[in-house]
Symmetry: C2
Amino acid sequence: MQLLKERIIKDGIIKDNNIIMVDSFLNHQLDIKLLNEIGREFYERFKDKNITKILTIEASGIAIAAIAAQYFDVNVLFAKKTLSTNLDDNTYESKVYSYTKNETYTVRVAKKFLNENDRVLIIDDFLANGKALEGLIDIVFQANAEVEGIGIVIEKGFQEGGENIRKKGFNLESLVIVDEVKDGYVIFREWYCLNFSKMIICYYKW
Amino acid sequence: MQLLKERIIKDGIIKDNNIIMVDSFLNHQLDIKLLNEIGREFYERFKDKNITKILTIEASGIAIAAIAAQYFDVNVLFAKKTLSTNLDDNTYESKVYSYTKNETYTVRVAKKFLNENDRVLIIDDFLANGKALEGLIDIVFQANAEVEGIGIVIEKGFQEGGENIRKKGFNLESLVIVDEVKDGYVIFREWYCLNFSKMIICYYKW
């Protein structure tokens, strides 16, 4: 998605030489116009799948899923990472290991909101090692529902999550795949390399 | 907001005799059509305030804020409850005491996304004791920005948060105020009492 690449180049920041900070438009401050374009793009890619529900995970996936859901005209369900009084006692649960925090947490979805008739589109902002995504897939399987598609905004192609998920045969669509982040610039999967926050020589390859 | 009251009556569930569960449409599963009506209603109530940014808090406020932001044509900023690599180091912070969890947590917003020119609309799903809301107000003050309005979907009128916030002079608009929850039914502020999950005699008073 060209618009998103341009936005990452324009407003993304590289932190600690390997983290892509997109907090100005995607996961802290939210550019709702951009989210609308992202939602429209997900719809274009999955509109033939007869999606009945969009599943995401708190917190950064929620806004993207909610805006996208307007195009699909379906409800959103977001998996919770913590127990709360707002959550039904009867839940599907899956354990997720977090590399960044070096701990395992549990994602939960109330059973009453997911069943064998659901054709689910899973949406999230980032895909890196894929552990959270595997937890969501596990939950859909527990409900005997179908994973009809997985829509990711930014995939880190240099981590194994995307490859593992595709190997299993899932219909995974990432709007942008970043294959490398180093020395203040980013290389996208399609070899469209550009400057990133600083002036760096760019090259095109498509 | 009549539509919302009817929905609470139709799909809300009372748990432990005092918790209003609206997880089927507001804070776990999200009815995006209803959220659009909620967003439109917030716009009607605050459209003259020249809002420049909507501030909310993860996780349940995010979808409501994102959908509402489409009407205001502004960005959303959501305060984070946990530290993450996606958060800038330079943040406004405020301590929030949680009665339900009996612990204090910190809400954070990156300083670069809020400044003295911002006219902020704060949006959240629930208002009970108001501690989280006070944390958000504190953050807006730290940024020398203005709180132009506070939009709450459901206020628990039997807890002190709403009264405290109004006493301080804030322009607080709650789409629904619940004054009492007991014995399986709910009494709204406008004395529009109705059956709740079970068949109970209803009475109107407006």
